[in-house]
């Protein structure tokens, strides 16, 4: 047996946005064992939400759980609070929530793709993807008023209406974006240099997905159809706006890239359907009721299934709030995926998971 070396990646590392620590045990360049350490950004948001903040303020606080998928957290919390209040939303508010959720998915997936390109050593593609991502950031700013941390969903509806000229701008800019996305798809699919770092690297089989409870693009790239948008219709009308499941088959880094890119096409289509078929109605439903009982909500964040549980006791302060983030479910699958790959591939594999540690540790 060759000598084994422990190589740490993190907590501060050029390829990581967040403090995440992997201890990779290597044997002749091959990774044989991994330990993940994810708790650096634990802040104690759940306790603060049930002691310091009123339930209407909590939707703004949970947005700060994660800046990348802040709309997913605010929407999931708003939905769970509406369940506690027995509130029925207008269809317009639901459509507007889908609009921002999908715009957010575009920016999040493009960030992940650019990160994979950078960590695979393809700096030019990183810059190109980030340049194209600015289109989605500008649209988010036009629709919500801020580039990051939109606070668009509030308890009872959404915070802002969509003005017709902004709707036209979204459609026009997305039309400009489509040929750029075709370009990106072409590079990610066929580029030879990138394929050396991506094809056949970091394979997670569909058996392992089922065994280790992976969710999101990680599971869909292995051919397992797990998507909350496909399962629930009661809170947001996903099928109505044209949701299609995107599946890969190989389960490697390349398959994950392709799943993300094809989901972008689907997101653009859904945004166009939302804007063209936007129903009339109030954007917010007012109520004086207090939250009572227990409720659970599942929502498809860009990284997978997000789960919010809340319990109210007829006061302004909630009794319990529990958030389970997609990356938390994926950590066992991360560890399994590393094994058997070369150490030099580790940064690209980490980026292809699209880890979000501030969601996980909260």
């Amino acid at each position: 047996m060759a000598t084994q070396y422990d190589i740490p990646v993190g907590a501060q590392h050029i390829s990581l946005l967040e403090p995440l620590h992997f201890k990779l045990t290597t044997e002749n360049e091959k990774i044989v064992d991994v330990q993940a350490n994810v708790g650096y950004v634990h802040r104690g948001i759940e306790l603060a939400c049930t002691s310091k903040f009123k339930f209407r303020q909590v939707s703004f606080v949970v947005g700060r759980v994660c800046g990348l998928c802040s709309i997913s957290h605010t929407t999931a919390y708003s939905q769970v609070a509406e369940k506690l209040l027995n509130l029925e939303l207008s269809k317009r508010a639901k459509y507007l929530r889908i609009l921002v959720l999908e715009l957010d998915r575009i920016h999040s997936h493009l960030l992940c793709l650019s990160h994979v390109a950078e960590n695979s050593g393809f700096e030019a593609l990183f810059m190109k993807t980030m340049k194209d991502r600015e289109i989605s950031m500008e649209l988010l700013e036009a629709v919500c008023g801020n580039r990051v941390q939109y606070d668009y969903s509030v308890v009872g509806g959404v915070a802002r209406d969509l003005r017709p000229e902004v709707a036209q701008m979204v459609l026009a800019r997305l039309n400009d974006f489509k040929p750029k996305l075709d370009d990106l798809r072409e590079i990610f699919e066929n580029n030879y240099s990138l394929s050396l770092k991506n094809r056949g690297i970091g394979v997670l089989s569909s058996e392992n997905v089922k065994l280790l409870n992976a969710v999101g693009p990680l599971a869909r790239a292995a051919g397992v159809p797990i998507d909350v948008r496909n399962e629930t219709e009661d809170l947001l009308p996903w099928k109505e706006v044209g949701f299609n499941m995107v599946l890969g088959d190989a389960g490697d880094v390349h398959a994950r890239n392709m799943v993300r890119i094809h989901e972008l096409y689907n997101s653009i289509q859904m945004i166009e359907n939302v804007i063209n078929g936007l129903p009339e109605g109030d954007i917010i439903t007012e109520t004086k009721a207090m939250p009572e009982g227990e409720a659970v909500v599942r929502l498809e964040a860009p990284r997978g299934e997000l789960f919010h549980y809340a319990k109210g006791n007829k006061t302004q302060i909630l009794e319990r709030l529990k958030i389970k983030a997609p990356t938390f479910s994926n950590i066992p699958a991360f560890i399994e995926t590393f094994k058997g790959n070369e150490y030099a591939s580790a940064p690209a594999i980490i980026a292809s998971f699209d880890p979000c540690l501030s969601c996980t540790a909260r």
């Binding site: 050029i14 946005l17 802040r43 104690g44 603060a48 800046g67 980030m130 340049k131």
Partner: protein, 171 residues
């Protein structure tokens, strides 16, 4: 050109996330990319504290990341500038009352530039970085200033005793 000239033209930045929500981090990333492009000021994102001049910190300092933050700060060579990016890094922000939070970055290490906003916009980050460049230049000059000593330096084993010398600098 002397080494200090290169430092002025290409200060390297180090980014550390001390417990942020990733919002400011992706804005820093957007800053490095074509639309905002801070590389025109000669800045490059580096992962090595020993080669960096500017430390960009995002997020409130959690109890667990404090040690790492102080360690990274200590490893950076002088002169160095610290920028606190975002409301949370400046004051603790919305996370201030939470049990695992130490507060803003200035509770742990000295901060030179505060960038406000949740999340701080790329334009604000560029403004902060350019301000930091001025401070870096000032600090460089401060370090390179020659000192007048009261008495002749004390030599021990053929070496100048620096502790003795520090006490003899004329204010």
């Amino acid at each position: 050109m002397k080494l200090s000239g290169y430092r002025k033209k290409s200060p390297w930045i180090l980014h550390y996330n001390a417990g942020s929500c990733n919002g400011c981090d992706i804005e820093i990333l957007a800053c490095l990319c074509p639309k905002y492009d801070v590389e025109r000021f000669g800045l490059i994102n580096t992962g090595n504290p020993k080669q960096s001049d500017i430390l960009l910190i995002t997020g409130p300092v959690t109890k667990r990341s404090r040690e790492r933050l102080v360690e990274i700060y200590a490893q950076m060579p002088e002169p160095k500038v610290v920028i606190a990016c975002g409301s949370c890094a400046s004051t603790g922000g919305v996370f201030r009352p939470m049990y695992n939070i130490e507060g803003g970055v200035d509770q742990v290490i000295p901060v030179d530039v505060y960038v406000p906003g949740c999340a701080c916009r790329p334009e604000q980050i560029i403004d902060g970085v350019v301000t930091a460049l001025g401070i870096l230049e000032q600090k460089t000059k401060e370090i390179e200033k020659s000192h007048i000593l009261h008495v002749a330096p004390l030599e021990e084993d053929g070496q100048v005793n620096r502790r003795h010398m520090a006490g003899t600098i004329k204010k």
